[in-house]
Symmetry: C2
Subunit: 227 residues, 2 copies
DNA sequence: AACAGTAAGATTGTTAACAATCTTACATTG
DNA sequence: CAATGTAAGATTGTTAACAATCTTACTGTT
């Protein structure tokens, strides 16, 4: 039999999964801002779904840290705190450094090609002024190293953070009305990821994250002044 | 008003939470071995609970990696694979090193005291030949650094791994019919955690984890030979 | 005998009604 | 008027019946 490339079947067909996907999208796109109360009866009516699968979907988002739940009281889109942002960035630094350490000796052409391809997608989104796409493509670029390092647990953990990270980016962008990723911000990242100096890469990850944090720091001041 | 020390109220009172707790206990204690099919109707009857909250509890365990779910087909207690064990140990090494880096400058008497206290509990459990308690107390000892490092996201991630780790320990113990943690295995760990040499601590964490992995390696061969 | 088709049973997914809890507004009391 | 008690409404938690899907065993065909 010749090689047969079949597309994966979308076994996403449970309502629970669809609802979770839509809710997540609504949150990370900023349509449901932090603090918004998620009333089950309203949402289930809105989505044309009963409360059972909706509740299961909400629980999933709780586990991803995108919503917070208080028993018998309500679930709310997760609020942003200074500490949460700091933690996310510091933790993410560790994860991505670990990922590069793992992937370093395993890198191959497919890895390099995907980096280049993804960088092009990111650049295009920025040039097109498509802020929303730019955020997605930036996360996709960082996703590559996790995908290739072959560590399922690490990738899982990264995916869990990714939603919150996306939300922060979106909020920052909405608050300051432009300012997606800069056009050349990832040139060095890709360069080093294809290069021979692991330590340089690790240091850059650290720097890159700190720069990212500085960017979101503006959001932090907004939050503090809002209290 | 004088200082008022009230115990936290057990807001664990939703069935979902209670069921999740009991199911988790049943799994990590080995009562429900890997591969066991969790039939909702059976479990709900057994627990005297309807399927709604039971399903929500099961979803929670899925997110913790303790059970695996296939839509319309069934949920099963997570199987053990060599890769999963390796990943867990390598990832845990990174997490705990990060935790020690964070806590190092913040350490205070309460931290040292808790280490000593917990080491005593662990030693007692081992002396009493209470294997199950020894596993718990060992995990509690490692839990301390996560508790004191003040990084909620890190602690959360650790908690998520802890269940699976507990399960591996239990399985290993059941398979080889003794061999909880050795009586002095954590002396150096506590010593270094109270000492002044961060690098020595980080190296020891790495060694300690590798020793732990070696121990569970026996379990690995059991798995492989079972296939 | 091997294979495809099919129907019965079991199990998960979903729904809608019911129960428990919380919040809010209002009345009561000192 | 402040503080406490109370009742109404809203919302989450729970249940049990119904629908969709999968598995398995059986039948028939080649």
């Amino acid at each position: 039999m010749t090689v047969l490339n079949l597309k994966p079947i979308h076994k996403n067909r449970t309502l629970r999964a669809n609802v979770a996907e839509q809710l997540k999208e609504a949150i990370i796109s900023g349509a449901l801002p932090p603090g918004t109360k998620l009333v089950e009866s309203q949402l289930s009516a809105l989505l044309g779904v009963s409360r059972g699968p909706l509740r299961e979907a909400i629980r999933q988002l709780v586990d991803q840290g995108l919503v917070e739940s208080i028993a018998y009281t309500g679930t709310y889109v997760a609020s942003i705190t200074v500490q949460a942002i700091q933690e996310l960035y510091s933790f993410r630094t560790e994860l991505e450094q670990f990922a590069f350490k793992l992937v370093w000796e395993k890198r191959a052409d497919s890895f390099y090609n995907e980096l280049d391809l993804q960088q092009k997608k990111l650049t295009k989104a920025i040039k097109d002024n498509d802020h929303s796409a730019a955020i997605f493509e930036e996360l996709e670029l960082h996703n590559i190293v996790y995908k290739y390092c072959g560590h399922a647990l690490l990738q899982d953990t990264w995916q869990r953070l990714r939603g919150r990270l996306h939300l922060y980016f979106t909020l920052h962008q909405n608050a300051h009305n432009r300012a997606g990723p800069k056009i050349n911000a990832h040139d060095l990242y890709v360069e080093l990821a294809k290069g021979d100096d692991l330590n340089a890469m690790l240091n850059h990850v650290s720097d890159h994250m700190q720069q990212g944090y500085k960017k979101v720091e503006l959001l932090v001041s907004d939050i503090e002044s809002a209290n």
